[in-house]
């Protein structure tokens, strides 16, 4: 009784195989995005099946989610990442009331009601300043790797104030800060605080605890602390944050969640 979820995100492709009977993730995989999303998704999916000796026929249904969800031609249906995150996160942290999902090119804030349903959600509107793309830009500018940013930020004495409203201008601002002698540690800490501040601003109406953090950017050290500071509340990272949307998709494919079973 296997189902599959495929998250065709803007920066990475994720796939999860779910065993409905045993209620467990059978396997998961992540790959960088490419041009042909359908082929990439199929290759990732086939690889997972091969590595786990699962026949294609044993997969009961497939749900695709993410930015490229409609390009995954072999999926039985497409569901947005907001709905999938809800199910993926709730499976791992049932107590969650607010989900912060920061991906490569967008960020989302999902508020859950007392029954775990989506009450409201918001997404960043105009630019990449509240997304992982900002971290990539600063890493490139500083000649650092993304996963080193947390270590850099941890040594910050006085986080820089990044005031620009867009990533392109912020990059110029960073060049100016470097030229004026501001340390890379303070710049990285400032960028993380800036991203966290933008995400927190999306919660203007309400944010309820517990707040959980998911998406690719949840793997970047220092971001959780930056978010906690911005929300002025504790923030916990979901286990396996990269694959929660794919997991939610697999759960929906299995008929867990909305009661509808896709395909076949």
């Amino acid at each position: 009784m296997i189902s599959a979820g495929i998250d065709a995100g803007s920066r990475t492709m994720k796939a999860v195989l779910w065993n409905r009977v045993e209620k467990r993730i059978v396997a998961s995989a992540v790959a960088d995005q490419g041009i042909d999303q359908d082929a990439l998704a199929r290759s990732l999916f086939d690889r997972l099946l091969d590595e786990n000796a699962i026949q294609r026929e044993s997969v009961r249904a497939i749900v695709a989610t993410g930015y490229g969800r409609k390009l995954v031609s072999f999926a039985d249906r497409a569901v947005t990442e907001i709905t999938c995150q809800r199910w993926g996160v709730r499976r791992q942290t049932p107590e969650a009331r607010t989900i912060v999902d920061i991906g490569g090119q967008d960020s989302k804030l999902i508020r859950l009601d007392e029954y775990g349903g989506v009450a409201e959600f918001s997404m960043n509107d105009r630019c990449a300043a509240g997304t992982g793309r900002f971290l990539e830009v600063v890493a490139t500018r500083l000649g650092a790797k993304i996963d080193a940013l947390g270590r850099l930020a941890a040594e910050s004495q006085s986080p820089a104030h990044i005031s620009s409203m867009c990533v392109v201008f912020a990059e110029t601002e960073i060049v100016g800060l470097l030229a004026s002698g501001v340390s890379p540690h303070d710049i990285v800490a400032g960028v993380q605080a800036s991203i966290a501040g933008r995400v927190a601003a999306m919660s203007a109406r309400s944010v309820e605890s517990p707040i959980v953090f998911t998406g690719d950017v949840a793997l970047v050290p220092g971001m959780t602390e930056a978010l906690a500071a911005a929300f002025q509340q504790p923030v916990a990272v979901v286990p396996k944050p990269q694959i929660t949307a794919a997991l939610g998709a697999a759960l929906l494919a299995a008929g867990e969640g909305d009661g509808r079973v896709a395909g076949h």
Binding site: E81, I82, D106, G117, V118, A119, D125
Partner: protein
């Protein structure tokens, strides 16, 4: 091709038009295939829209898209063209009460960059004229005034200012700087009466200080005299009352259409056509008689579909209350493609849709013993003891002043939000979409206020969505949000 209700592309409309013609299609002077608006008018957005397939919708689109040529014909015939700005529905009632006068909104050019997909260069020209994209897309009006390539330059411009849109005030001033005189009239920020101060209940249920209605009446009286001077005609009570009657003819039809379209299941008319039909209320698209005819056709079509159980959205589609007109018409298509339907709207023109009440509360009737009289001569006058006489404003101006003060934009957003909550609840809305207009000053915080109140009073999701004049680059993310909203609504239905 069948008469079953559906949304079709422009290419499909080409065939549909031929089929309708073979069936004896009745058309007005502005009729013809929709394709001509692309070929002759450059309205390329039609190529990317899905439109209702009825003959009634064809007439609606033709009325809308032929307005510029209609205005130019009027100019050639010596008709006085009054450019009204911002008030959205009040000054046109006065202007259409006169012979050989047409009022239109140059503001309507805000949709031109969408319709022509930026090929007309209006926003770029507005940039060069010093009004950049930190302003509402209504800045297209400024450019259209300067290049004269869209609507004819009005013989006179009348603009409301004060507690209305900051963008409009700034753009109106820029227009004046560029050599187009503007007749300004002021509208105050709506407020409730203070203790001991007489109050008036407006259409829609808002209560304001009577002194405000008196003030706006006097401002509208200045407009009246200005129109008299410009037209060389007397704009007296009888004419004003007739103007109100005609406006109410349109408003009543739109109210009926809204009831049928927003409450009917399956939804009998697409959100896009409904939006255009509602917008007809503000100035009748420069042709009152054609507007009435188009609305009658739509009503007949909608009734026919309701009786036949025929609709343009699947039964049970997510019921969405939509707030603000989107800068890109395609947004309404996207909503329906996501699996939703519109069940109510607030396009900031509630004061142009509510009927102008001939017997408002808080006024004494001129005709003694007939306080509920509805004849033109029996319109009410204020409680303050003023009597109809030489030099006094015509009583009907009080009614128009009340409508102007009922403008959602001139009062606190909370009052607008209250109405939205009321109507959303009445119409069974399952979610609210607040469509923000980029740069529009009123949009800066209203989504927050409306969202908070909807959440508190109705407990349904609110989606805050910014729609630019051409949404194409943002289509994936807008589509995702709308689809997620529909998924959320459907999931909330389950026990």
């Amino acid at each position: 091709m069948s008469d079953k209700a559906e949304k079709i592309t422009l290419a499909q409309w080409d065939d549909r038009y031929r089929a309708l013609c073979c069936g004896g299609l009745h058309e007005s002077a502005d009729g013809g295939p929709l394709r001509r608006h692309v070929d002759e008018g450059g309205d390329r957005r039609l190529l990317h829209l899905r439109m209702d397939n009825s003959a009634a919708a064809l007439r609606l689109w033709n009325l809308l898209l032929s307005e510029e040529s209609r205005l130019r014909r009027a100019r050639e015939q010596g008709v006085l063209l009054v450019g009204t700005m911002k008030d959205l529905g009040t000054v046109p009632v006065m202007a259409y009460a006169l012979d050989n006068v047409i009022a239109f909104y140059p503001d309507g050019a805000w949709w031109t960059p969408c319709l022509m997909e930026h090929n007309e260069g209006l926003l770029a020209l507005a940039d060069r004229l010093g009004v950049d994209d930190s302003f509402c897309p209504v800045r297209a009006m400024l450019a259209a005034m300067v290049n004269g390539e869209h609507f004819p330059i009005p013989d006179t411009l009348v603009c409301s200012v004060g507690a209305v849109c900051d963008d409009m005030a700034a753009i109106g001033q820029r227009i004046e700087e560029l050599g187009f005189p503007v007749f300004w009239w002021e509208i105050p920020h709506r407020r409730a009466s203070e203790p001991g101060e007489p109050s008036v209940e407006l259409p829609g249920g808002l209560v304001v200080a009577q002194s405000q209605v008196d003030f706006v009446r006097d401002e509208l009286d200045r407009v009246r005299r200005h129109l008299e001077t410009a037209s060389g005609q007397k704009l007296d009570e009888a004419r004003l009352a007739e103007g109100i009657r005609r406006a109410n003819e349109v408003r009543r039809r739109i109210a009926r259409l809204r009831r049928f379209a927003y409450l009917g299941d399956p939804c009998p008319l697409p959100a896009l056509e409904m939006m255009i039909a509602e917008i007809l209320a503000i100035h009748f698209c420069s042709d009152w008689a054609a507007t009435v005819a188009v609305l009658d056709d739509l009503l007949i079509e909608v009734r026919r579909r309701l009786i036949a159980g025929d609709g343009v959205c699947p039964a049970g589609a997510a019921r969405i209350f939509w707030v603000n007109p989107p800068a890109d018409l395609r947004a309404m298509n996207l909503l329906e493609e996501a699996g939703a339907r519109v069940c109510g709207t607030d396009y900031m023109i509630a004061h142009a849709i509510d009927e102008i009440n001939p017997s408002p509360k808080g006024y004494n009737s001129v005709a003694q013993g007939n306080a509920l009289g509805t004849e033109p001569e029996q319109h009410a006058t204020p409680c303050k003891g003023k009597t109809k006489g030489a030099g006094e404003p015509p009583p009907s101006l009080y009614l128009l002043a009340q409508m102007a003060l009922a403008d959602p934009m001139v009062g606190p957003t909370t009052e607008r939000a209250e109405r939205i909550c009321r109507e959303a609840a009445q119409n069974g809305a399952e979610a609210v979409v607040v469509s923000r207009i980029p740069g529009a000053s009123h949009c800066a915080t209203e989504a927050l206020v409306i969202g908070r109140l909807v959440h508190e009073q109705l407990g349904i999701p609110v989606l805050d969505l910014e729609i630019p004049p051409l949404l194409d680059p943002m289509e994936p993310t807008i589509r995702t949000r709308l689809e997620a909203l529909v998924e959320t609504v459907i999931n909330r239905r389950q026990p």
